[in-house]
Amino acid sequence: MSAGAPLTALLLSLAGCASQSVQFHHLPPDTPAANNAVNLEKALALAAQAASAAKSVKPDAAEEPVLVTPADAPPLTTYDPWGKFNRSMYRFNARFDEALFWPAANGYRRLPAPLRAGVHNFFGNLGEVSSVINYTLQGRLGHGVRSLGRFVINSTLGLGGLFDVAVKLNLPKAPTGFGTTLARWGMHPGPYWVIPIYGPSTLREGIGLAADYATSYAINAADLYRGNKSWALGTLNAVDTRANVDFRYYASGSPFEYETIRFLYVRKLLIEDGGLPGSAPPKRIDPNAPAGE
């Protein structure tokens, strides 16, 4: 992340003048008409889906047995034996984000949308390589073929990945990584872990991230990881990723934000793992880390 003093100075200036009694942050303009159009599209799609489900309700109901019962729900507490470290790291991440990462992403979001879409598609397309490998390791070959198809189509027809042509051919983006592979192999999420700069995770997901990075480093597509410009490209990738995450630290204003995010993140992960108790975290609670939720 430390790409030198000039970049830091630029980003700090974007963050505003910290010593004054008032700070201004210029934001990308709101686009209410477009936002509502997206909401409308989703609502109509949902209504259409509900209508078609209603027509074929019986066959569907027979095909979809209820697997997860309320008794399978994980306990309300979350395994967080590294709570002390995690809390201070959450605070560090919040400060880092507010001072550097968010202002940089905010500035980036003011660039023309087609340009940002191109950057986002480009990095997303490189990620398809990792998805193909991991879907294969997970034994989900259909998904793997879809990712491979997307990679081939977007790298050629999509001009090196700048355009997501595949999505228009009914091949939607569905990234996966080694963390999910480990889950499919039966590994528990492990303890909650707030990773520096990256944010909420668990031990398993952290291992997955490291493996994904190692794979990308080994492949070194577009000289992104080992070339002369790897710092610049890596920074651009990070800023693009941040700009596409609709989250701001402490927008809740609440001192309970750590507990809230931890609860939601781990439940989301467990449901993605299948929601069954076999994939629940260990129930032992460290006495030094009071139970959270």
Binding site: F24, H26, D30, L76, S88, G253, E272, E293
Partner: protein, 442 residues
């Protein structure tokens, strides 16, 4: 929709033991009538899902916006646990020519950039206003950075803090922002706040606020929140069994929906779809509403306890540090109803601060009729509400209609804010703020 889904997800947090209150020297205000006030199933649905996108008024393509973070001179020393809330954060959309300013205040627990505020900002900016969107005085960021007491929920005190904050904000605006007139509005509790701020300004004359509009306001603050306490007790009970069951059922439902889908990530779109399956009955909507309110209450309770030194959940001699674990505090707080905040934090604090005052006076001071004369006699107060709003009962709705006369518009449907941003609500709002309502009413 996105916001309601997030609220439902957050609501899962609230499951856990309700602990009976200790001896209560002060009695909480009693609430009569149904816990859902005037609302039926359709009203509860509208309250949770909000205005359907197809009913939203025409919105502008682009709305410029900047964020202001202000350090206010009267703010109390910031407790370590609130290190991130030192400055009051507000959002401003400026016209590039002289224009009236609309100040918009969020409802209970809301920050200055909620989805509802975004809609109001868009339509007001589109109608030619500069727009300042403010957090609720019950939002933790406001309590820490702008409250002179730290104990939120007192209409007049919160009004005075808001009034001071607005003056500071306006004095720090860039010079190019030229303001020709000032109107103030808010939704839910923010509506009551807006009216109180105008009434303070009527005597202090520092801003010369022209018109005030209340959208779905409460009439008696404590009756409305008392109803929500009651709704919580009915849907989730006072013990942990009901709430734990709710959590487990919700988890299982979401997990099965996810398994049945072809998704590889549990994202917002999934929750958007899931909400329609999860929420169908009156009880389910009621649960979601009660839990969402309880989330806001936790923050108000914690801050009030900390600032007042009441010692209910925070040891005044050993306040939590910046990295302290708040797990235990949270677990205790999520079981505490508003009535306990009133009896153990709010009332003792304000009775101490205002020697000679009584609990009845505190309750009366938090009814809109504390500014009843102004609402009745000043033609620049307006209101919009619904005949099926869950935070009102029939006598309260009647009081609003009698007090405001032709200056209130009551819609048949919408529940609590479930029609905010729809074409009719927006048209009427702009007519009220623009001084065209009188001609229309005649």
């Amino acid at each position: 929709m996105k916001q309601c889904v997030a609220a439902i997800a957050l609501a899962i947090l609230f499951v856990y033991p309700a602990i009976a209150a200790d001896t209560m020297p002060v009695e909480a205000p009693a609430v009569a009538g149904p816990a859902t006030g005037l609302a039926d199933l359709a009203a509860l649905r509208a309250t949770v899902f909000g205005t359907p996108p197809q009913d939203i008024a025409p919105l502008p393509e682009k709305v410029p916006v900047f964020q202001m973070d202000l350090a206010l001179p009267w703010a109390q020393p910031v407790p370590a646990v609130y290190w991130f809330d030192r400055r009051l954060r507000v959002w401003f959309s400026a016209q590039d020519k002289p224009a009236p300013l609309a100040i918009v205040i969020a409802g209970t627990g809301g920050d200055g950039n909620t989805a509802k505020l975004s809609i109001l900002r868009a339509v007001l900016y589109g109608a030619g206003y500069h727009v300042l969107t403010m957090p609720s005085p019950t939002f933790p960021g406001f309590i820490v950075s702008a409250s002179s007491t730290g104990v939120a929920g007192d209409l007049m005190q919160d009004g005075r803090d808001l009034y001071g904050a607005i003056q500071q904000i306006i004095s720090h605006l860039p010079r190019k922002v030229r303001i020709t007139d000032i109107d103030i509005l808010g939704y839910s509790l923010g509506g009551a706040n807006a009216a109180v701020v105008k009434s303070i300004d009527a005597s202090e004359r520092r801003l010369n606020i022209h018109r005030a509009l209340m959208i779905n306001p409460p009439v008696s603050l404590f009756s409305s929140v008392g109803r929500l306490d009651k709704l919580y007790a009915i849907t989730l009970g006072n013990g942990d069994a009901g709430v734990e069951r709710f959590y487990q059922q919700l988890y299982a439902t979401l997990a099965n929906l996810y398994r049945a889908s072809d998704r590889v990530q549990l994202d917002e779109d999934f929750l958007f779809e899931a909400a329609a399956s999860v929420l169908r009955t009156k009880a389910e909507f009621s649960t979601a509403i009660a839990l969402t309110f309880r989330i806001a209450l936790i923050n108000v309770f914690f801050a009030g306890d900390l600032y007042s030194g009441s010692g209910v959940v925070v040891d005044p001699k050993h306040p939590p540090g910046a990295d302290a674990s708040l797990d235990d505090t949270f677990r205790i707080l999520r079981s505490k109803p508003f009535s306990e905040y009133f009896t153990r934090v709010f009332a003792p604090y304000y009775l101490r601060r205002r020697p000679g005052s009584t609990v009845d006076e505190l309750i009366a001071g938090n009814r809109l009729d504390a500014i009843g004369d102004a609402l009745r006699n000043d033609p620049d107060y307006y209101a919009q509400t619904n005949s099926d709003d869950l935070i009102l009962d029939a006598p309260e709705l009647d009081w609003l209609q009698r007090t405001l006369g032709a200056r209130i518009q009551v819609y048949d449907h919408g529940g609590h804010l479930g029609n905010l941003g729809d074409r009719q609500q927006v048209t009427d709002m702009l007519d009220m703020l623009g001084g065209r309502w009188k001609e229309r009413a005649q």
